[in-house]
C-alpha cells in the first residue's frame, strides 16, 4: 500500500474525536471529518449515529434507521447526545470560533455564513473543530465575532466542552491549567516550528510532542476503498 497521505492522517485524527463516545450522534462538517466519522463508525465506535447529511439517520450501508429533520436535530443538540465537528474561519487560543463575518460586525469586510448553530452547539454538546489550512489568518489572537464559545467565555457552563481541534498540521486540545490551546500531536512530517509559524497566538507546547498515530492497514483500506474511493479527501488537504 502506498504511503499514508496527510489527508489520511487528518481522517484518523478526526475519527479519534469520536472514540469512546458511545451511542451518540456524530455530526461531522466538511469532507475529512465526514470520512473520519464514518471510519470511527466502521471500526472502534460502532454505536455512533450518523445522518445522510439531510433528514435521515443511516447505517454504514445507507440503511435508514431513523428520522432527524432539522427541528429534531436542534432538539437533539439540547439533549447533549451529540459530538459535532465544525469548521472555523477563525479560532483563538481559548477555542472561541468565528464563522459569521470578518471585520466589524456592524459593517463586515467579509460576510461569511453567520453564527449558524455554533452558540447552541458549544453550550450543549461536545464541539470540536476542523481547519483544513492551518494559518495565522485562522488561528488568531482574537476572533472578530464569537460564534462558538471558548473556555474563557463559557463561565464554566455545565455542558461546555471542546475536545479537540484538528488541522492539516496537527491535533490540538485545551488540556492546560488555564484551558488555553495546546499542541497534542503533530502529523508525521510536520515540525513544532512549522506549527508555531502558522499560529497567530502563543501555543502551549509540551516538552515531548507525540506524532498523530498511524492508520492501521484495515483503516487505510476502509478509507481508500470503501468510504472515500474517489479521493475527495485530497481536495480538502493535499498530500
Amino acid at each position: 500500500m502506498s504511503a499514508v497521505t496527510r489527508a489520511e492522517y487528518c481522517v484518523v485524527a478526526c475519527a479519534e474525536a469520536w472514540r469512546g463516545a458511545g451511542e451518540i450522534l456524530a455530526s461531522p462538517m466538511g469532507v475529512i471529518p465526514s470520512v473520519g466519522a464514518r471510519l470511527a463508525r466502521r471500526t472502534f465506535s460502532p454505536e455512533l449515529l450518523l445522518t445522510d447529511g439531510e433528514a435521515l439517520l443511516v447505517g454504514v450501508d445507507g440503511t435508514v434507521e431513523g428520522w432527524l429533520p432539522y427541528r429534531l436535530h436542534l432538539e437533539l443538540v439540547t439533549g447533549g447526545r451529540r459530538h459535532v465537528m465544525m469548521g472555523a474561519s477563525q479560532i483563538d487560543r481559548f477555542g472561541n470560533q468565528n464563522i459569521s463575518c470578518i471585520g466589524d460586525w456592524a459593517r463586515p469586510v467579509r460576510q461569511l455564513l453567520g453564527v449558524r448553530g455554533a452558540p447552541v452547539n458549544t453550550l450543549n454538546n461536545p464541539t470540536s473543530y476542523w481547519v483544513p489550512r492551518h494559518s495565522r489568518r485562522v488561528f488568531v489572537e482574537k476572533v472578530d465575532m464569537v460564534c462558538g464559545v471558548g473556555y474563557d467565555r463559557a463561565g464554566g457552563a455545565r455542558h461546555h466542552r471542546i475536545p479537540r481541534v484538528v488541522s492539516d498540521l496537527g491535533v490540538f486540545d485545551f488540556a492546560t491549567p488555564d484551558r488555553s490551546m495546546r499542541l497534542a500531536s503533530l502529523h508525521p512530517g510536520v515540525s513544532v516550528g512549522e506549527v508555531r509559524e502558522a499560529t497567530g497566538f502563543e501555543l502551549a507546547v509540551p516538552a515531548e510532542v507525540p506524532y498523530t498515530r498511524e492508520p492501521t492497514a484495515a483503516e487505510l483500506r476502509l478509507i481508500r476503498e470503501v468510504i472515500d474511493p474517489d479521493g475527495t479527501r485530497a481536495r480538502e488537504v493535499a498530500s
Partner: protein, 278 residues
C-alpha cells in the same frame, strides 16, 4: 367551507410596507420563491424579514426591500455563501438581528405559543449577546439557578411558505424528508400564505402521504396559492431537486442583469425565461 385560493399577486397585495414577514423553508430548500417573486413585483418594502436564509433573503436584500433581517445564516447550500446577501451586508444595506439557529426556533415557538419568551441554553458567552444588546437573560427559579437566554417571541405579521400539496381550505402537506419549520411560521403569524405545487381535494391529501405529512393546519392559513415550480430554483423534494445550473447563474450574474432577464415579468414569464436558460 371557505375557499382560500388566491393568486400570488393577491396574497402579496395583502402585505404592507414595514411588516414583519417570516419566510419558510431552509437555505436553498423549499423556499416560497413564487411568493418572493410576487413580492419583488409589488411596491412592498421596508420589511423585517425572519428567515433561515437562502435566496429569498438574497433577492429581497439585493432589491433593497429589507430594513431588518432576523437570521442565523444565509446560504445557497451547494454554494455556501449567499452572494447577494453577502454584498448587501458588506455595503451596510440593512440592519441585522443575528441569532443562533436554536434561538430562532425557540423564538418561533414562543410566538406560536403566545409566550413573550422561552428560555434557551444558547447565546450566552457568544457575541450574539454583544450584537443584540436588547437580549435579556432569565434565571431558573429552582435550585439549579442556571441562567438562560430569554429568547423573545418572533411574532410575525405574515408568513410565506411553500409545500408540495394543499387543499383549498389551507391544509398543507409536505412530501419530502424534512418539514423544516413551515408549520411554526404559520402558527407564529397573524396571516399565513401557503403556496403549493398542486391544489388537490382534501380526500386526495392522505393518498399522497400519511396523516403525519399534513404539516400545516387550515386554522393557521389565510390564503392558498397554486404555484407549480413555486420553489424554483430551490429544492422541493420529491417533486423536484434544486436547479443547480440556474442557481449558479443566479449567484454569478450581477443582480440588475438577473432581475431584468428573469424578474421583469410575471411568474409565467419567469418560468419561460428560466426554461430557456437551462
Amino acid at each position: 367551507m371557505s375557499d382560500k385560493t388566491m393568486s400570488a399577486d393577491e396574497a402579496v397585495s395583502r402585505l404592507e410596507s414595514g411588516m414583519t414577514v417570516g419566510i419558510g423553508g431552509w437555505g436553498s430548500r423549499r423556499k416560497p420563491m413564487a411568493l418572493v417573486r410576487a413580492l419583488l413585483r409589488s411596491p412592498v418594502t421596508d420589511l423585517t424579514v425572519v428567515s433561515y436564509g437562502g435566496p429569498d433573503v438574497g433577492m429581497l436584500a439585493a432589491a433593497g426591500r429589507i430594513r431588518r433581517l432576523v437570521a442565523a445564516f444565509a446560504t445557497l447550500d451547494s454554494i455556501p455563501l449567499e452572494p447577494h446577501y453577502r454584498a448587501a451586508r458588506e455595503r451596510g444595506a440593512f440592519a441585522l438581528t443575528e441569532v443562533d439557529e436554536a434561538m430562532f426556533l425557540w423564538g418561533l415557538r414562543a410566538a406560536a405559543h403566545r409566550l413573550p419568551f422561552l428560555p434557551v441554553r444558547a447565546g450566552l458567552g457568544s457575541d450574539v449577546m454583544r450584537v443584540n444588546p436588547g437580549l435579556r437573560t432569565v434565571t431558573s427559579p429552582y435550585e439549579d439557578g442556571e441562567t438562560f437566554v430569554a429568547m423573545p417571541a418572533l411574532r410575525l405579521d405574515a408568513a410565506l411558505v411553500h409545500v408540495n400539496r394543499a387543499d383549498r381550505r389551507g391544509n398543507g402537506q409536505y412530501l419530502g424528508p424534512d418539514p423544516y419549520f413551515d408549520d411554526l411560521f404559520c402558527e407564529a403569524a397573524d396571516a399565513a400564505y401557503v403556496s403549493c405545487e398542486r391544489i388537490v381535494d382534501t380526500a386526495e391529501l392522505t393518498k399522497a402521504g400519511p396523516p403525519q405529512s399534513l404539516l400545516i393546519k387550515r386554522h393557521t392559513v389565510t390564503g392558498v396559492v397554486e404555484a407549480p415550480q413555486g420553489a424554483h430554483f430551490t429544492s422541493c423534494a420529491p417533486d423536484y431537486g434544486r436547479d443547480e445550473a440556474f442557481q449558479r447563474r443566479y449567484a454569478t450574474t450581477p443582480w440588475p442583469e438577473f432581475a431584468a432577464r428573469f424578474l421583469a415579468g410575471d411568474e409565467q414569464a419567469y418560468r419561460a425565461a428560466a426554461g430557456e436558460a437551462t
